[in-house]
C-alpha cells in the first residue's frame, strides 16, 4: 500500500465519521430550501466523458440554476468507468463523496448501508414528475420494499449487432428463427471464409463473466438464486450454456478464443452482443442490423444493463441535491436524456420517440430491441460485495478457458468459490 493511500485513509476516517454522524438517510421532505443565495454547490460523479452528454447535463444544470438562486455551481465529475466503483468508494471513505452519483453494481452495497437517500416520497411530491410513469421492471434493481433509492436513468437492453457485409462475403445470411446455435454456425462460417471473428460478447474479454448472462439466460440459467443466497453456477442449465460457449471458442471457433481481440464496430466480427446504447459506435463503414438476442433452448429472453443516479446520504445538501435530481429526471429532461440513455418512463418508450433522438437505429429496430424487451428483461447479475464475487468467480472460471477444460468441474469450483461470499 503506498504511503499516499495510507495518508488518504488516515484523513478519511475522521472526516467520514464526522460526516456520517451528521447525516442520516432520512427522506427529504418536499419543502423549499432555506439555503442562502449561491451557498450550495453540487457535485455529481458520472462515468461518461462524452462531450455531447456532458454538454446536455450542463444545459440542464444551467436551466435549474436559473430558477434556484441558492445554487452556486453544479459540476459533473467524470471518473473512468474501469475504476469508477473504486474511486467512488475511496471518495466516500475519504469524506469527499459527491452529492449525487451514477451507480451500477455498487448500488446494492450502497442501499444496504443506508448510504443512499430514499427518493420515492420526494419524487412523488414533485409537481409534474409523474412517478407512476416509471416502468416497474426497471426500477426493481434500485428499490427495496417499494422505496426507490436511485433513478434508473439508463436501461439499455442487450441486442445482437449484425455485420451484413461480412455475412455477405461468407455467403451466409440470417433467415428463419435466430437461435444461438444458428449464430454460432454462421459465425464459424464467417470465420472460416474471411478470417474475421464470428460472434463476440462485448466487454467479456474472458474476465467480466457477468456479461455472459446475455447468453446463459437463454438456457434458463442464472448465477445465483433469486434471494441471492445460493449459487446456481453448477445447475444443468448453466453447464449446457457454458458447454455451448466453450465449444464456440475451442471447437467451432465461432467465438474468438481467449486473448484474441476482435472489435465488431471496427468491422472485425460478424456479430456482437452489446447494449443498444453502443449503437453510437456504428460509423457506417459497413452495413449493419440490430436485432433482439438470439433464442436459447428456453426460447426468447432479454437482458438489460442498467445505471442509476442517486443522492448520497453524506451530502451536506441532501435537500437541494434531491430537488436537483427530481429536476434532472423530470419528463422533459428525461426526454432529452433519452437521446443517449433508454429511459425508464413508459410515456417515452415508443419507437418513434427513441428514433427521434437516435440517428443510428430506425423506429422499428428500436421498437424490437428496446420497447419490446424492457418489460420482461432481467438484469446482469448483481449482489452485495460485487467486486469480491466478480474476482472470486473470475479466478475459478479462468480454468474454463482452456481447450481441455472440464466444464462441469469448473462450474462446481466456481460455486465453491463464490458461495461463501453470497452469504456474507
Amino acid at each position: 500500500m503506498s504511503t499516499a493511500k495510507k495518508l488518504g485513509a488516515a484523513t478519511a476516517i475522521a472526516a467520514l465519521g464526522l460526516a456520517l454522524a451528521g447525516c442520516g438517510a432520512a427522506a427529504p421532505t418536499p419543502v423549499e430550501t432555506t439555503a442562502a443565495p449561491g451557498s450550495v454547490d453540487l457535485r455529481m460523479s458520472v462515468w461518461t466523458s462524452n462531450e455531447d452528454q456532458l454538454a446536455l447535463f450542463d444545459e440542464i444544470a444551467e436551466a435549474y440554476k436559473a430558477d434556484h438562486p441558492e445554487i452556486g455551481e453544479i459540476t459533473y465529475e467524470s471518473l473512468p468507468f474501469a475504476d469508477y466503483n473504486t474511486t467512488l468508494t475511496t471518495q466516500i471513505a475519504g469524506g469527499n463523496a459527491p452529492d449525487l452519483a451514477w451507480m451500477g453494481d455498487l448500488s446494492r452495497d450502497l442501499i444496504e448501508a443506508d448510504a443512499l437517500v430514499p427518493l420515492t416520497d420526494a419524487l412523488k411530491a414533485t409537481k409534474g414528475w409523474n412517478y407512476d410513469d416509471l416502468v416497474g421492471s426497471v426500477t426493481a434493481e434500485f428499490a427495496v420494499d417499494d422505496e426507490l433509492y436511485a433513478y434508473p436513468f439508463s436501461n439499455s437492453p442487450f441486442a445482437l449487432y449484425v455485420n451484413k457485409d461480412l455475412l455477405g462475403q461468407a455467403g451466409a445470411a440470417i433467415d428463419g428463427d435466430v437461435t444461438w446455435e444458428k449464430i454460432s454456425e454462421l459465425g464459424a462460417t464467417v470465420h472460416q471464409a474471411t478470417g474475421k471473428a464470428g460472434f463476440v460478447i462485448r466487454d467479456f474479454d474472458y474476465a467480466n463473466w457477468g456479461q455472459l448472462a446475455t447468453v446463459w439466460t437463454g438456457w434458463g440459467a442464472s448465477a445465483w438464486s433469486a434471494d441471492g443466497k445460493t449459487c446456481t453456477f453448477d445447475s444443468p442449465e448453466m453447464v449446457d450454456a457454458f458447454t455451448f460457449l466453450h465449444d464456440a471458442a475451442f471447437v467451432d471457433q465461432s467465438m474468438p478464443g481467449p486473448g484474441t481481440t476482435a472489435d465488431f464496430f471496427a468491422g472485425d466480427a460478424a456479430f456482437t452482443v452489446a447494449q443498444v446504447s453502443r449503437a453510437a459506435l456504428l460509423d457506417g463503414s459497413f452495413a449493419y442490423d440490430v436485432i433482439p438476442l438470439p433464442n436459447g433452448p428456453e426460447g426468447e429472453y432479454s437482458v438489460i444493463g442498467q445505471a442509476g443516479v442517486g443522492v448520497l446520504a453524506t451530502s451536506p445538501h441532501v435537500q437541494e441535491a434531491t430537488d436537483f435530481l427530481a429536476f434532472l429526471t423530470n419528463p422533459e429532461n428525461a426526454e432529452k436524456l433519452a437521446a443517449y440513455f433508454p429511459p425508464p418512463r413508459e410515456s417515452l418508450l415508443t419507437g418513434e420517440q427513441l428514433a427521434a433522438n437516435n440517428p443510428k437505429l430506425t423506429a422499428d429496430q428500436l421498437e424490437s430491441v428496446v420497447i419490446d424487451q424492457l418489460p420482461d428483461a432481467v438484469t446482469l447479475p448483481n449482489h452485495t460485495g460485487p467486486a469480491e464475487i466478480k474476482a472470486a468467480g473470475k479466478t475459478a472460471l479462468d480454468a474454463m478457458w482452456a481447450a481441455d477444460a472440464d466444464v462441469e468441474a469448473v462450474l462446481a469450483a466456481t460455486c465453491e468459490a463464490i458461495e461463501p461470499l453470497l452469504s456474507k
Partner: protein, 315 residues
C-alpha cells in the same frame, strides 16, 4: 550566590550561566542549521511514512465498514484471518516466484549488459541509450503495449509464426503468464541496474586487469576474482533495490494479467490493493500491507548483515 546555587554547583549538576555568554553560539547555530536542512525530509517521513504506518497498524486491528462509516475494534481477528485465508499460500508463492525471477534476471541481465557495453566500440553510447530508455517510459503505457504484443493474436506470436512456431497464449496460460510479467518488467527496469554496474565497472582500476593478464589469468578468472569483488558494493545496492522494487511491483500485474489466470500472478502488493480498495476490506488489507512491510524489512536487514560476508571494501 545563594545556598541553593552552592548545593547545585557542588553536585556538578548545573553550572552557573555566564550572563555575558551569547545564546547563539557557533555550536547551537550549527545544530539549528542541521535541523533546518533535514526538517522538510523529516516532516515528509513523519507525515507520509510513520503516521500512515501507525494508522495501518490501527486499521489492522479494526474492521472498517466504509459505507456505514463504522470502525469496529476486532483485535487480532485480521491477523487470525491471515492463517485461514485459503488464497494466501498461492499469493505468497506467486510473490516468491515473481521476486526471485525479477532479482535473478534483472541483476544478471544488468550485469551482462554493463560488461558488454563497458567497452569502446562504435555506437556504444547509442546502445546504452537504447537499453536505458525503457526506464523513462511510463510503466502503464509500457505494460499496455506489451499486453497487445503478448495477446494470442499479438505481435510476439505473429513473429514466432514467421519461424513456424505456434506461440502460446502468453497472458492467459498458467505456464507462461508469470514469465511474461517478469520478462516485461525486467526489460523495462534493467537499464537502472545496467547504469549502476557500468559506473562500478568503470571504477575498477585498469592496472589490476593488466597485472592479472600478465599473471596469465583468463577472462573468466579475472571477472570472478577482480571484477566481481570490486563491484560487490554495487551488487549489494542493486540486490537491495531490486528485491524491494520487485515486492512493490503493481502496475504490470494489474494491467497485464489482473492477477490471473487463477491466482498465478497475484502478488502480495496486488492482493493488498484488491482487499483494501476493491473489496473495501481496509482492515485485512492493512494487515496484509504490514506483512509486506515486514517482509521487506527482514529481507533488507538480512542483506545488510550479509554484506560483511560478501561485499568487498578496499579499505
Amino acid at each position: 550566590m545563594t545556598a541553593l546555587d552552592t548545593v547545585i554547583e557542588s553536585r556538578g549538576a548545573v553550572a552557573p550561566r555566564d550572563p555575558h555568554r551569547p545564546f547563539w553560539t557557533m555550536r547551537r547555530r550549527d545544530h539549528l542549521t542541521g535541523y533546518l536542512f533535514i526538517a522538510p525530509q523529516l516532516a515528509g517521513v513523519v507525515l507520509f511514512v510513520l503516521v500512515p504506518v501507525g494508522l495501518g497498524i490501527w486499521y489492522s486491528l479494526n474492521e472498517w465498514n466504509i459505507f456505514r462509516g463504522e470502525l469496529t475494534f476486532v483485535g487480532g481477528d485480521n491477523y487470525a484471518a491471515l492463517l485461514t485465508d485459503p488464497q494466501l499460500p498461492a499469493v505468497l508463492g506467486a510473490t516468491a516466484v515473481f521476486s526471485l525471477g525479477i532479482v535473478v534476471l534483472n541483476i544478471a541481465a544488468g550485469l551482462g549488459l554493463a560488461v558488454l557495453l563497458n567497452r569502446r566500440f562504435r555506437g556504444v553510447t547509442i546502445f546504452r541509450t537504447i537499453f536505458f530508455s525503457p526506464v523513462i517510459v511510463s510503466v502503464v503505457a509500457w505494460t499496455l503495449v506489451w499486453g497487445f504484443l503478448l495477446q494470442d493474436n499479438g505481435g510476439i506470436n505473429a513473429l514466432l509464426a514467421v519461424f513456424g512456431i505456434d506461440g502460446p497464449n502468453w497472458l492467459l496460460s498458467g505456464d507462461t503468464a508469470m514469465i511474461s510479467v517478469i520478462v516485461t518488467q525486467v526489460i523495462r527496469s534493467v537499464g537502472v541496474n545496467m547504469v549502476l554496474f557500468l559506473a562500478a565497472l568503470q571504477g575498477v582500476p585498469s592496472e589490476l586487469y593488466e597485472a592479472a593478464r600478465i599473471d596469465g589469468a583468463g577472462p573468466g578468472r579475472i571477472f570472478l576474482r577482480i571484477t566481481l569483488p570490486l563491484i560487490s558494493p554495487t551488487l549489494m545496492l542493486t540486490a537491495v533495490i531490486t528485491i524491494v522494487g520487485s515486492l512493490q511491483a503493481f502496475a504490470n500485474v494489474a494491467v497485464l494479467t489482473g492477477g490471473g489466470p487463477g491466482l498465478s500472478t497475484t502478488v502480495l502488493v496486488y492482493y493488498v490493493f484488491q482487499q483494501a480498495f476493491e473489496f473495501n476490506d481496509i482492515g485485512y488489507g492493512s494487515t496484509l500491507a504490514l506483512m509486506l512491510l515486514t517482509f521487506v524489512m527482514l529481507l533488507t536487514m538480512l542483506q545488510w548483515q550479509l554484506r560483511r560476508k560478501w561485499v568487498f571494501y578496499e579499505e
